[in-house]
């Protein structure tokens, strides 16, 4: 945990504050004010990415810190897209997700450029990790969008809308998850000599992928006859993602080839 006393840190904390203000304003019923905060938060997030690019002199996509900044800036366009495409208002959940993304960027990741060990010096680093991070963000959004499916009192067309939106978001997340898995195994072949080593993190990622594969099969088999099952599956998938990011990454029980800390 460290606080960044730099322009970069200031921009990140400004964005975080604006995202938090969005949530508070919307929850308090001040819709227009909340939307204004959300839009301003996007401008701050873009400024933070732009500052990073100007400051380092390279496109800000070369490490996880930079990638998280980009993800936070991508949320406002995503929520606008959801409103245009599915007629859903996802502002509050996207702002919460943005805060979740910016906390590691603001307090955990270092701003200085890390001295990478030889194994991580690869053109596949950012595409591999980036696909996963972007996929995880979209799958988290899909789970949040599926929340109305749990309720019994929701109108039929409202439920359909939520189901379609969550499935469309989930399929893009699934594409990115697949891409991340493939790029990872390609990199594994180039770096470790084999594309699949039964490494604990590989196995958990495969398990996550299979949960979502099961979700799409379930949707094909039974349509929307069991909306709660579909929503539950998206939440189980999210649980797997959270486990992969926390327990598997941090526990010594799963020591493996992905330990580069």
């Amino acid at each position: 945990m460290m606080v960044k006393m730099t322009v970069q840190g200031g921009l990140i904390y400004l964005t975080l504050t604006l995202f938090a203000a969005t949530v508070i304003a919307r929850r308090g019923g001040w819709r227009a004010i909340g939307n204004a905060f959300w839009g301003t938060g996007f401008v701050a997030a873009v400024a933070s990415v732009a500052w990073r690019g100007l400051h380092t002199g390279h496109p800000p996509m070369q490490n996880l810190f930079e990638f998280f900044l980009c993800m936070a800036a991508a949320l406002w366009p995503l929520s606008v897209w959801s409103r245009w495409r599915n007629g859903l208002d996802t502002t509050v959940q996207d702002a919460l997700l943005g805060m979740l993304i910016l906390v590691p960027a603001g307090f955990v990741f270092g701003e200085e450029v890390r001295r990478l060990p030889p194994a991580l010096q690869s053109a596949l680093f950012i595409p591999h990790v980036g696909s996963y991070v972007a996929g995880y963000v979209l799958l988290a959004r899909a789970a949040l969008m599926a929340l109305p499916l749990f309720r019994r009192d929701v109108a039929d067309d409202r439920m359909r809308q939520a189901e379609t939106a969550s499935r469309q978001t989930a399929v893009v997340g699934f594409v990115l998850l697949t891409l991340g898995l493939f790029l990872g195994s390609l990199w594994g072949k180039i770096c470790w000599g084999h594309y699949w080593q039964f490494d604990p993190k590989e196995m958990w990622s495969l398990a996550t992928w299979l949960v979502y594969a099961g979700y799409f099969h379930e949707r094909l088999a039974h349509g929307v006859r069991a909306p709660r099952t579909l929503a539950a599956l998206l939440w189980i998938g999210l649980l797997f993602i959270v486990l992969t990011l926390t327990w598997i990454n941090l526990s010594r029980l799963f020591a493996g080839m992905h330990n580069y800390a």
Partner: protein, 255 residues
């Protein structure tokens, strides 16, 4: 018969199969990579994977007949990946001393060899390669030492290590290649990897630096990559369909 096939290759049992496999993958995460790999190398597990590949093939073929090309690409892709993996395992099982599959070579500057070794001390001979490798020179480069390193009283971390080797293949003039981490060299069906390096002493007690190269042959690799490509194309197609059908019917016909 046809009804039975329809029922058992449809998406409903497939969903359950996905979740069962998911639990299996979780179970394999606990024993660690080495034991999980050894477990999957057993004949029973290989037969299970072969059966799964066959099932994917059948589902893919049926999807072609039903003109569901996204599903066809996806399932045939999965079948190819599994079949490619099985081919690799088969090659490992049937490797011979004159056609080895996987092994390592430990070398110091100036040494030449075509022998591969295995075991924790790399003292069990695996076989001979169809070419020889001569280590011209091994390089280790470090990052510039910063204040953190000085405070901790340590060397800066390693930035790069690489082996400059001369490869001699029969019927070809010898040539020089650099083996780096993340940059294997491909020779006659074998990939040569920069695995690790270390310090030791020679017989006279003088310090030496050695390099460890790993050499791997995997005849199933192309099939696995072809499978990845098909699978990914299928998933893109599937995603495109999900976006296209929106608004026409929320409850579309099952595959």
């Amino acid at each position: 018969m046809r009804k039975l096939l329809n029922r058992w290759t449809g998406p409903a049992p497939a969903a359950w199969l996905c979740w069962a496999l998911s639990l299996g993958a979780v179970a394999l995460a606990f024993p660690g990579a080495e034991r999980a790999g050894a477990w999957m190398a057993r004949p029973v597990m290989q037969a299970g994977v072969a059966l799964l590949a066959l099932l994917f093939g059948v589902v893919g073929a049926r999807a072609v007949l039903r003109r569901r090309f996204d599903s066809a690409l996806l399932h045939v892709g999965c079948a190819c990946v599994l079949a490619g993996w099985l081919m690799g395992r088969h090659a490992v099982r049937h490797a011979s001393p004159d056609h080895p599959c996987i092994g390592s070579m430990v070398m110091v500057d100036g040494e030449e060899s075509d022998r591969l070794w295995e075991g924790p001390m790399l003292d069990r001979s695996v076989g001979r390669l169809p070419f020889s490798v001569r280590l011209e020179r091994f390089f280790v480069e470090r990052y510039a030492r910063n204040s953190d390193d000085r405070d901790a009283g340590r060397d800066a971390p390693v930035r790069e290590y690489r082996s400059r080797v001369t490869i001699t293949e029969p019927g070809r003039p010898p040539y020089v290649a650099n083996v780096r981490v993340n940059e294997p060299v491909y020779v006659r069906g074998y990939h040569i990897y920069q695995m690790s390096w270390g310090h030791s002493t020679d017989r006279l007690g003088r310090p030496i630096v050695y390099t460890v190269l790993q050499v791997i042959r995997d005849p199933g690799l192309r099939l696995v990559y072809a499978g990845f490509t098909l699978l990914f194309a299928g998933i893109l197609f599937f995603a495109w369909r999900i976006f296209r059908i929106q608004g026409t019917s929320a409850r579309e016909v099952p595959a």
